[in-house]
């Protein structure tokens, strides 16, 4: 089962790294941000699986913080990248 989890985690990581091409390519800031959001969710999935594979329940807490972070980053982006001024 641990080997299976390992393969899944590697697959997810490869998927993340491929998605990063979008951050590099853009063209719009929103495209870059979306790719970062995908990285965040996939990282949460990786942590969920690692917490079982490495038998470290504490990783679930790290996953909670990762999940919170994605929201902070996206809200920060939307507020700070918008042009409309209130």
């Amino acid at each position: 089962m641990t080997t299976f989890f390992g393969i899944i985690v590697v697959t997810l990581l490869v998927s993340i790294l491929t998605g990063l091409i979008r951050v590099h390519r853009g063209p719009r800031p929103a495209d870059r941000m979306m790719a970062a959001q995908l990285v965040g969710s996939a990282a949460v999935a990786i942590l969920l699986i690692l917490s079982r594979a490495m038998d470290m329940p504490a990783l679930l807490d790290v996953a909670v913080v990762f999940a919170l972070l994605a929201a902070v980053a996206v809200v920060g982006f939307v507020v700070l990248a918008s042009r409309k001024v209130s």
Partner: protein, 97 residues
């Protein structure tokens, strides 16, 4: 054993959705299509992986935290999807004006 099999297939399906999301993010032509791909991957992929991991969890506390993580990511990704879409549409409008 049966439980292991179900958990494993759920996790595999979740991973497939993440891969699909990445492919969509890279291949779709404009920002709204990409957003569609992204939210599907986020929502379904993570939900399936989380469901699979709850089957393998060892204590009630772990199940609770996994469900909390899933709930939060679902909520955040829906809100963020909306915010990004609204931002992109507004930028488009101003670009045309």
């Amino acid at each position: 054993m049966m439980l292991d099999l179900i958990a494993a297939s759920l996790v595999v399906f979740g991973t497939v959705f993440f891969i699909a999301g990445t492919v969509g993010l890279l291949r779709f032509p404009d920002i709204y299509c990409r957003l569609h791909a992204l939210t599907k991957a986020d929502g379904l992929g993570l939900a399936l992986v989380a469901l699979g991991m709850t089957l393998k969890a060892e204590s009630f506390g772990e199940v609770f935290r996994i469900v909390l993580i899933w709930f939060f990511v679902a909520l955040a990704s829906a809100t963020c999807g909306h915010l990004i879409a609204a931002y992109a549409r507004q930028a488009d409008r101003e670009g045309k004006a």
